[in-house]
Subunit: 493 residues, 2 copies
Amino acid sequence: MAIELKNLTKRSENYSKWYNELVVKADLAEQADVRGCMVIKPYGYAIWEKMQQVLDGMFKETGVQNAYFPLLIPKSFLSREAEHVEGFAKECAVVTHYRLKTNETNDGVVVDPEAKLEEELIIRPTSETIIWNTYKNWIKSYRDLPVLCNQWCNVMRWEMRTRLFLRTSEFLWQEGHTAHATREEAEERTRQMIRIYADFAEKFMAVPVVVGVKSETERFAGALDTYTIEAMMQDGKALQSGTSHFLGQNFGKAFNVQFLNKENKPEYAWATSWGVSTRLMGALIMTHSDDNGLVLPPRLAPIQVVIIPIAKTGQLAAIDEKAMQIADNLRKLGISVKYDNADNKRPGFKFADYELKGVPVRLVLGARDLENGLVEVMRRDTLEKENVSLENIEQYVKDLLDDIQQNIYNKALNYRNSHVFECNNYDEFKEKIKDGGFFLCPWDGTEETEAKIKEETQATIRCIPFDADQENLGVDMVSGKPAKFRALVARAY
Amino acid sequence: MAIELKNLTKRSENYSKWYNELVVKADLAEQADVRGCMVIKPYGYAIWEKMQQVLDGMFKETGVQNAYFPLLIPKSFLSREAEHVEGFAKECAVVTHYRLKTNETNDGVVVDPEAKLEEELIIRPTSETIIWNTYKNWIKSYRDLPVLCNQWCNVMRWEMRTRLFLRTSEFLWQEGHTAHATREEAEERTRQMIRIYADFAEKFMAVPVVVGVKSETERFAGALDTYTIEAMMQDGKALQSGTSHFLGQNFGKAFNVQFLNKENKPEYAWATSWGVSTRLMGALIMTHSDDNGLVLPPRLAPIQVVIIPIAKTGQLAAIDEKAMQIADNLRKLGISVKYDNADNKRPGFKFADYELKGVPVRLVLGARDLENGLVEVMRRDTLEKENVSLENIEQYVKDLLDDIQQNIYNKALNYRNSHVFECNNYDEFKEKIKDGGFFLCPWDGTEETEAKIKEETQATIRCIPFDADQENLGVDMVSGKPAKFRALVARAY
């Protein structure tokens, strides 16, 4: 392991390779023997569980309830909403049969041609269609509204090029689907959920994000508006980390979800949907980690503190006692601790391993430290070591965890801010985009400009940021026509 | 709603119909517009979430970690383990294509024949194959063992006749898959997990269960031993509620999972798997509920206490204040409370609705009660009402919840125990089985006896109970040959 760790590619050498290696070496996930699918390993899944727990609580505080809708969607449902089918029907897993049978040579199984489905079923790429088909039976009157459902589930999109967490055929996510009596209420819910995602990213993941609205081209298939949070990775590329869609009455009409309003007149229900996925794992890893491995924000770290003893024969009992006492006290403060006194691994190996795994705080306890009433404390974010008095060590560690959470956020924010550029000149843009970064550029709002930028630079309009200055825009940097917006342009994952 | 409730079929009239209606009327689940699949509605899902939370904690206390493995399994994986493929390959959803395209008339989508998979993929009916194919890369040395993974996920088995929660094509479950260095350790883990399931059923669901081992015929496909918990429903039928399998080295051999033992010699790893599913929801509903609706054990009830005001105009403010104060105090004790002061529904409607939903305790607060320092308390299990002093009402409610939990368990246990019969005579058995019940019968251990009982009475050998008296068995009630076991025989869901 120590040798493998040494072999971790440096970010400066090959950022992409560094990421791929890190995900595997830190035991987060691996490619499955099924095309494009991943296995999320226990350590990676423990981080995802923490994310789920926090997000789930945030959703529920706003009145959202969890539910579960079917994995399989009848093919015809997809065609009901014209834009939606364009966006999602193309690359999806299709179930055509419901039985296998033993083959003729009796040494394997084949699809039973007799067991062909009348209508093919699609593994959900997203669930608007099946859910709105259900809502039709739930919503009859304005009194039945709003409906605020969320589900945690797996979805599948047949991706050609996949990367662990960032783009896989199957991934885990949550998808919220709400129905409202008025446009205003639905629009407000759309904004509320993108704010929750931004809050979660910044306060728990320690990932600063730009919040904004997508261009028409980049909208969710079937949406009237798509809000997004965009994070900057350490290579200056953007990672879309969560989206919230205002769907208008598109699905209400497609699935005939009508209710009687207070005036007893029928109206179509207004819809939103919003989701974040295991892609957040990619954002978390790429924002903070370094050439030694993962750097995890304390609030999402499965192990927040590791205690490692250094003991010669005969010394371990006293160290064990003290270490377990510290561990107990830390746990009482709500801190998750691992005391690793396994004797089949050397301390040096353990140090490297927990660095690789991004454990925020490491305590090393030796016999001499114990005599002197000291413990060596290392913080993973800066790798700084300090000898700290054992008296009141628990409060020290608690404060340190808060400090690390804040510090990695600040670090990411500084990095991001120093790579955001106002740019009004396309030639300058084409040159500077090679080094990555977020560019705030005047845009005429046309698809032509958007397409040209994408074709010539592989950069895309990520969003029109909520907080970008939309005054005195001047002219579109590509077309020279009057600009309508200041847009955030970047290369993206 | 009050009218719908009145229409709930009585258990004595048609138990099966009562169940089907109750699941839908209590807002737990409904049939989806996808063959054999269900929608789990928020109220039903909230109960499932509580089950998950408790079970997940119990698993983790024994060192189990959560992970996630792919939904889709290459067809050929199923054939690797000979018995397993017999059991599971037959009725499953088969993915054959990965793309749709617009049809010729441009008004729908069809499967793109160009996008045919080289090897078909199966939606997991259970994940032994894909997981052991993964473990092959994780397990090289005895130091890598044990591996203790669990996943919470959806699975699919193409069932012909489905019933909400009891048997659906798609269902939710957890599946634990462990790998061990020795047979003994794997066998002990198999037993440990069935004990955990029994504990959960009895202490949280308040459902008494018989723990035992399955006959060879009823074993999981690929297992050397299957342990089961069997619960008795109110119609005297058995519901298999959880199973734990000792898989020997079958999957280790099928997927070549070998490790070097302490003597540096290669050995195949030993396996277990164990699972419970949304079927537990069926067990919960059918064990306790009555002709007025659900009866939920307080420990799994999403709402443990509902407070309903009865107020004339002008009186509500004072009642609101007191009710919210009680609610707050109850929440401080960890009790989930709903205060329902909605003014668009009459109290009588609310009473019926919360009875239907099985809320364990109802407090009704009126203006006169308030003056007298009293509140009306109703317990859902017995429907008994009592006027209780507002002083110290919180502790009273807390104790009452404990009492209800215990009482419904006792009631279920008494019912079960009064329907367990020792039976040595086949004619007597054939007569008595018509009224349901569990029968402890001497069995010669042959498939012939088992098959004959099943054919002639639709009853099956549910298990050989761990605690059944296995002395002085006499002769098999069917064959007249010497009996080997005392088996539990019953009709089952």
